[in-house]
């Protein structure tokens, strides 16, 4: 309980932890996947694994956008940055993701015009301020971020900008969950559903998981109390032999989602037939591309991106970790060749990646 004391309502948290301990069946093993990287970060940061019974195992899911982006897509984005008349923009998370020829940050040091932005609208403004250059935004993210990109493209269209495009890498969470459920080497009993993604999508998209796969899904917030409550709700369903979608994060997530955001996404994006995910391979209808009506803003149509498939770096076992088959520390490169200062795999880059979180918190706890 060392970490739990720091939080609001520590007594309430202790109560939930006790209730979890009372609820688990000692004869049974529970494997629960937290889908979202924000949850993974919170679980490590707050030492939540230490307060759960030994037979409740948390599997870290694919909900970290830079972690699931395959190296080939990073390379494609960096090809755009190699042009003299182009400014490539991306979020800070992307700057340290390794491509075959280095990270965006390293390419910037070698002279490419790559700039970090905090919002796609910052990239739009750069385009307005630099009419002699083409500004491309390297977009990543799940449904939390995709609507913002959609509105930015709509704004560029309304302004009639001709020197702005988006290299679209938005992915959708539900097909990845389906791929995990269909994968023969994965046994998941229930899901802690993502918080902010669900504030956009609502809870309906998860209903097939409860109905067809008979697995509970509980959409949860990010505070320790939220996550523990979500886990307790899953355990109760499992013990009762139930599978339904429940919403622990009602204060932020409406059951029907954010309708204006979903409309903006539907207007600008369409589903790709398939898209490669690092570690999970090709998943059908799991990513978004820009509709033909907005082709002028689609970097994949404006530029010639090679689209080469690149295998993961030799020795790195990102795929197995991403699927929960291996724990981060079981990867051959973990903590030695691959560390937060010199990440080899993307799971070590983002604070939401399982490896970075494990390195930062779990290793530190062992040393302390």
């Amino acid at each position: 309980m060392k970490y739990v004391d720091e939080f609001r309502d520590p007594e309430v948290i202790r109560g939930v932890v006790r209730e979890i301990a009372r609820t688990v069946d000692p004869q049974r093993r529970y494997r629960i996947m937290e889908v979202c990287g924000g949850h993974t970060h919170s679980i490590y940061r707050h030492g939540l694994r230490d307060v759960l019974p030994e037979n409740v195992e948390l599997i870290h899911g694919p909900g970290c956008p830079v972690c699931v982006l395959p190296t080939g897509r990073v390379d494609d984005g960096l090809t755009i940055a190699g042009r003299d008349d182009t400014i490539l923009t991306c979020f800070g998370d992307m700057m340290r993701v390794p491509g075959t020829k280095g990270t965006p940050l390293e390419l910037k040091a070698r002279g490419a015009d790559i700039r970090m932005v905090y919002s796609p609208l910052d990239a739009l403004r750069l385009a307005q301020e630099n009419p002699g250059k083409h500004v491309c935004f390297f977009s990543i993210g799940f449904e939390t971020t995709a609507p913002s990109t959609a509105l930015t493209i709509l704004r560029a269209h309304a302004l009639g900008l001709r020197n702005f495009s988006v290299f679209c890498n938005h992915v959708t969470i539900v097909p990845a969950m389906r791929a995990i459920l269909d994968s023969p080497d994965m046994r998941i009993d229930g899901f802690v559903g993502p918080g902010h993604v669900s504030s956009i999508t609502g809870c309906r998209p998860y209903e097939f998981i409860a109905r067809d796969y008979l697995k509970p899904v509980v959409v949860s917030g990010f505070e320790p109390l939220d996550i523990l409550e979500g886990i307790l709700m899953i355990l109760r369903q499992l013990n009762a032999g139930e599978s339904k979608v429940e919403n622990q994060y009602k204060r932020i997530v409406p059951w029907e989602g954010n309708v204006p955001a979903l409309k903006a996404m539907a207007q600008v994006f369409e589903l790709r037939p398939y898209f490669e995910w690092r570690g999970l391979g090709f998943i059908s209808q799991s990513a978004l591309s820009i509709r033909a009506a907005f082709a002028a803003y689609d970097a994949e149509r404006v530029f010639d991106t090679p689209g080469v498939r690149v295998t993961d770096p030799r020795g790195a076992q990102c795929g197995e970790v991403l699927k929960g088959v291996l724990k981060p520390a079981q990867c051959k490169l973990f903590g030695t060749e691959c560390n937060p200062e010199h990440p080899i795999g993307a799971l070590m880059v983002s604070s939401e990646g399982a490896c970075a979180a494990h390195y930062r918190y779990a290793m530190h706890a062992v040393e302390a």
Binding site: D122, R125, E223, A264
Partner: protein, 93 residues
């Protein structure tokens, strides 16, 4: 990536569609409100912000809870840095 930052709307940015001026930890920046229903928010309301866009309207207690959560995650400074970084007020046309 899924960082969402609470802020309070000060006023609607004049002459710029869908932009509101928002106070986040004493930093004033423009935030796009196009992902909310038209007329859903007004000055004084609290919102959750992600990459420069308001994701949802929240109440004051939820705003404090969210800020507390960011602090507990060690991401409150990162959040303010993000908001400081927004620079997308469009040049006057």
């Amino acid at each position: 990536m899924c960082l969402a930052i609470p802020g309070q709307i000060v006023d609607m940015a004049t002459g710029q569609p869908l932009l509101a001026r928002v106070n986040v930890g004493s930093v004033l920046r423009n935030v796009n409100i196009g992902l909310l229903d038209a007329g859903e928010v007004a000055p004084g309301d609290w919102i959750l912000i992600h990459v420069g866009f308001a994701l949802s309207k929240i109440d004051e207690q939820q705003a404090h809870d969210q800020l507390h959560m960011l602090r507990a995650m060690g991401e409150d400074e990162l959040a303010i840095e993000e908001v400081r970084g927004y620079s997308f007020a469009e040049p006057s046309e």
